[in-house]
Amino acid sequence: MDTVLEVSNLKTYFYIEQGVVRAVDGVSFTLQAGKTLGIVGESGCGKSVTSRTIMRLLSPSLARIVDGSIKYYPADGPPVELTQVDPYGDRIRDIRGNEIAMIFQEPMTSLNPVYTIGQQIMEAILLHQDVSKDEARARAIDVLRLVGIPLPEQRVDQYPHEFSGGMRQRAMIAMALSCNPRILIADEPTTALDVTIEAQILELIQQIQQDNDMALIMITHDLNVIGEVADHVIVMYLGQVVESAPVDDIFDQPKHPYTQGLLNSLPMIGRGDRLEPITGSVPGPHERPRGCPFAPRCPQVMDRCRAENPPSFVLGPASDVACWLYEEAAEPSHDSS
């Protein structure tokens, strides 16, 4: 299988007046062409900062990549170390929006209200591809048709406010797909939408993924969406990956107490049992606990958890868990094998 992106031990810290916020604190994963990686976690877990770091969208004066690497493997040519490129330079501009594209959560705020939908899609095409304005416009109409917008020849000249919520999200997807990206990062793409529209959007993304062998990173707090689309899942909590496993293992044999807690908190149709919520709530960015970040809310907490942050233990070829409960069951780490 073709690896298209390899993130290892990534750390992105924010340096603000109140102190250092360790938003992403040691995240690793591998992304394969044609496959879907689900990143799941509650607010403040660092899932969105991870994706913005990959895209190099964060201002270097505020957010610093203090450690780790993001290796992007282009279709041809040597791998690119994205942590080392100039965030305002030409190299990242070639990649961003072209080879790695992103769909944001809020289609209302991420579309520019004073430009037509067509102008916004054409901007991406003209920036990345050597085509005339007419060709770019034709391509914009094509992608609008591809995402199922009716009458694309007319819609292309309309403004975002003339689109419904579901159509705006389709337009965002059209923009992201306009350059046939190899990697699509979807950050809560369906959170603000009705279930019927959500189903349309997920169907659309997966259809395009299959047709183009595109790799997909699906970032969401919704485990039901993860269960439906992901091949592999990483569960994040306070900037760290607490568990990484194939999707069926995450649901059938969750290992980390936080993953187990999330699943027990989730209403599932037909299950009927009383929900067992995780106690407490996610601590604020400046109240980060010592030791394991989940220790204060963990039902199986031990003394050691409050003192030492567990490393990632390898449980299988594609399964890791960062929890002291699994120290003895662990295999030697992937790196040394």
Binding site: E42, A199, D222, G270, I278
Partner: protein, 356 residues
């Protein structure tokens, strides 16, 4: 007239043919050029102690119904009989003064705990405000009651002097719950109360609502777009589309044997896991039509895969099924269709062998 379920003696709210049409004004003279039919002829009963889930896409009118019941909106026509100590009272057209005593009995829990709490007021004062408005107790009694409520919703009396910004999202929604319950209402309209919360906190608030219901004998009308949340909390579900009721049935029945094509479409839109790969989704095409110009006949016919000619011309009434007195459906084809549930028995057995 729309036939409805026989109103038992314990119905605390009987709604008949409720309509709320907002005028659409245009032009220099603000002439009314049309109406948004947000709620368009809805009848149902709410029984004491139950939770009725209200579901549908945005624009279906579910929030508008909730706001009519608490009388934030005045319905255009129709009746809403609420059971008080003095028998059934139609609250649909009461004025502000006449509503005052009724408001003690019907409270609302809002979606967004960030914008529904006054940022300049302390938590204790927020919860005490309804008590002051209704002139209940002395200042000391009110304080004791608020501290008691804070304990009850799992916040602790020490939160009394905090401000909303010092609390997490889940804690703020607990304050919202305490405020709604402070004057001991009998009916609580919950409008998307957990949709702004993280999964783990959402479960805490859902359990809190369930516990308080059991303890205090509350009745809930629970409005939500998340069907798995509705399934968890509701005894009965009402499915709405473009201001009309499409189907109402006991929760289990809705999910296992949907009777309306729109219910089927909603259920099949919910993401679900199928072992070993990805399923083929059943996708409802298009958006919900505009409520200014709803389609003729059955309002759902433009998106319904089963629609026949009769659906385009005649509006199907909401009928109780002869073989199932707890299920009412507004569909011409109800006897002909065999609709798919959320999970088939085989899929369920494959996912959870120990449960099948």
């Amino acid at each position: 007239m729309t036939p409805v379920e026989a109103a038992g003696p314990d119905a605390i709210l009987k709604i008949r043919d409720l309509r709320l049409h907002f005028p659409v004004k245009a032009g220099l003279l603000k002439k009314t050029v049309g109406y948004v039919k947000a709620v368009d002829g809805i009848s149902f009963d709410v029984y004491a102690g139950e939770t009725v889930g209200l579901v549908g896409e945005s624009g279906s009118g579910k929030t508008t119904i909730g706001r009519c019941i608490v009388r934030l909106y005045k319905p255009t026509t129709g009746s809403m009989h609420f059971r008080t100590g003095a028998g059934l009272v139609d609250i649909a057209q009461l004025d502000k003064r006449e509503l005052q005593p009724i408001r003690r009995d019907i409270q609302m829990l809002f979606q967004d705990p960030n914008s529904s709490l006054n940022a300049r007021m302390r938590v204790g004062d927020i919860i005490a405000e309804p008590l002051e408005i209704h002139a209940i107790g002395t200042a000391d009694e009110r304080r004791a009651r608020v501290e008691d409520l804070l304990e009850h919703v799992g916040l602790g009396a020490e939160m009394y002097n905090r401000y909303p910004h010092q609390l997490s999202g889940g804690q703020r929604q607990r304050v919202g719950v305490a405020r709604a319950l402070s004057i001991e209402p009998r009916l609580v309209i919950c409008d998307e109360p957990v949709s702004a919360l993280d999964v783990s906190v959402q479960a805490q608030v859902l359990n809190l609502l369930a516990d308080l219901q059991e303890e205090l004998g509350l009745t809930y009308v629970f409005i939500a777009h998340d069907l798995s949340v509705v399934e968890y909390i509701s005894d009965r579900v009402m499915v709405m589309y473009l201001g009309k009721l499409m189907e109402t049935a006991p929760t289990r029945k809705i999910f296992e044997r949907p009777a309306h094509p729109y219910t089927e479409a909603l259920l099949n839109s919910i993401p679900k896991r199928v072992r070993g790969g990805h399923r083929k989704r059943f996708v409802l095409t298009g958006d919900i039509p505009s409520p200014v110009n709803p389609p003729a006949g059955c309002v759902f016919h433009t998106r319904c895969q089963y629609a026949k000619d009769i659906c385009k011309t005649e509006t199907p009434p909401l009928r109780t099924l002869p073989k199932d007195p707890y299920t009412s459906v507004a569909c011409h084809l109800v006897d002909e269709l065999s609709l798919s549930p959320y999970y088939t028995a085989a899929e369920r057995a494959d996912l959870e062998p120990d449960r099948a």
